[in-house]
């Protein structure tokens, strides 16, 4: 059980890194996890194909907020091509605790928002338009 909430998770929850918003971000997205009300927005500054700055704002459980905070650290200064390659496993590895199926969506919300921010910016997704009234649950 101590596996569940390590100190650095609490630290990221209470003192999130890269917290806040950017003015005129190059990419931005906001989404929530309707089942538990977690909400995250991510703003990105992109220069020469590199994520030069990133901010996130959100509310929700320690897992969703810490995971998003950790993700911003992993993303900052990296090339878009590298960021595009970040997957579930890397995010869960960074979080470093065992996550039950019901909480996976919390841990991955930040990643989902990040991907959607980049998708909206670089390749508008038709799928988004197909869900006018909610996200796939």
């Amino acid at each position: 059980m101590d596996e569940l909430y390590r100190d650095f998770i609490l630290d990221h929850y209470r003192s999130p890194r890269n917290s806040g918003t950017l003015e005129n971000p190059d990419a931005t997205f906001e989404d929530d996890n309707p089942l538990c009300g977690d909400r995250i927005r991510m703003d990105l500054r992109i220069q020469d194909g590199v994520v030069s700055d990133v901010r996130f704002k959100g509310r929700g459980c320690a897992i969703s907020q810490a995971s998003a905070s950790l993700l911003t650290e992993a993303v900052k200064g990296r090339a878009l091509s590298e960021v595009a390659a970040i997957g579930k496993d890397e995010v869960l590895g960074n979080v470093g605790i065992s996550i039950s199926p019901a909480r996976l969506k919390c841990a991955l919300l930040g990643l989902k928002v990040l991907k959607q921010a980049l998708a909206v910016k670089y390749e508008p997704s038709t799928e988004e338009k197909a869900y006018p009234d909610g996200t796939p649950s």
Binding site: P34, L35, P101, A102, A130, P136
Partner: protein
Amino acid sequence: MSLLTAPPQPSLSAADVARIREDFPILAERPHGLPLVFLDSAASSQKPVQVIDSMDDYYRRYHANIHRGVYHISELATEAYDDARAKVAAFIGAPSADECIYVRNATEGLNLVAYSWGRQHVGPGDTIVLTEMEHHSNLVPWQILAKERQARLRFVRVTPEGLLDLDDLDSLLEGAKVFAFTAVSNTLGTVNPVEHLVERAHAAGAIAVVDACQAVPRMPVDVRRWKCDFMAFSAHKMLGPTGIGILWGRSDLLQGMPPFNSGGGMINVVHLESSTYASPPARFEAGTPAIAEAVGLGAAVDYLQAVGMERIHRYEMELAAGALAQLTQESGVTVYGPHMAARTGVISLTVGDIHAHDLATILDSAGICVRAGHHCNQPLMEKLGVPATTRASFYLYNTPSEVDALMAGIRRAKALFKIS
């Protein structure tokens, strides 16, 4: 239909059926002290232990409400509920599990289409096309929709032989919004040419709604081959539990539809004055769902797939052919419905002037379960000119000797009623 294109596959052997029968506890029952001969699977099939035990196990080990349950048994329940949906989707060839909506039964599935899609798309002067052989569940919801929206109903006629009269199909479909029809008649056993009917519906600009209640249990069904738009069926007719069925719908249609029932579990954001809704399938599953029943349906699909739908279909056709051969030889017996090539193992009949209920009662006294009445097909009965028929239907657990028992029962009834 599928028989012509699929590679030849064996039917079930007597040994297979003997093994299958072991799985159905009810077949050991002895009503009136006699062996149970269950020939009413078209109304509702019996259940194998695998299905019964799956639900028992659910309640004993991991029952919990699914939505938002963070704890272990709730996670197990949620997983089982979603797994069953994926199994059903694979079983009917649905491109995505999200296209399969859990409903109470096929009837509710058809009502969902009529309420949600229908009230959005059908308006004054529009046409809804049905057939004269529809079950009340694929007739009355459209009557109510037509009345509410001032739309018009048209009917594909049934020929004296019990087939759909397709001569004027295209003119009936002209300008239609919906063509709703059964894949298999629950009274006549007629197997309709679904692919052709869907194709003509689409050519006329109508959507095709298939009542697959009698098809999914007894033959391979693939919505990608049928190319239909909606399809409804019930678990209880395919070895599954009561209280659950499936409405399958094309994902783009479902996406655009308003909710039917509303409340917990189908929402996104709720304010006091207004709300936004979840995507399908959740949008159409308001309230705590039939979780144990979904688990049972999943187990039923597993069972049917392990036996093989093609083999089940062939075996049922063999039983039906054997029964029809005997029935048509028997004096005083009238069989309704088409020739073997266009039908399946659902057989309606009358014997002399014996009323269907009297015949069913006499058969019951010999342990034989058949259905008697209008089979939720009153307009078809009127057309056939009989107030009621007696219906025998066969399934994977029936045997040739049960067909013989039926014949013996019919002869006893004839003797009692002094019919030669």
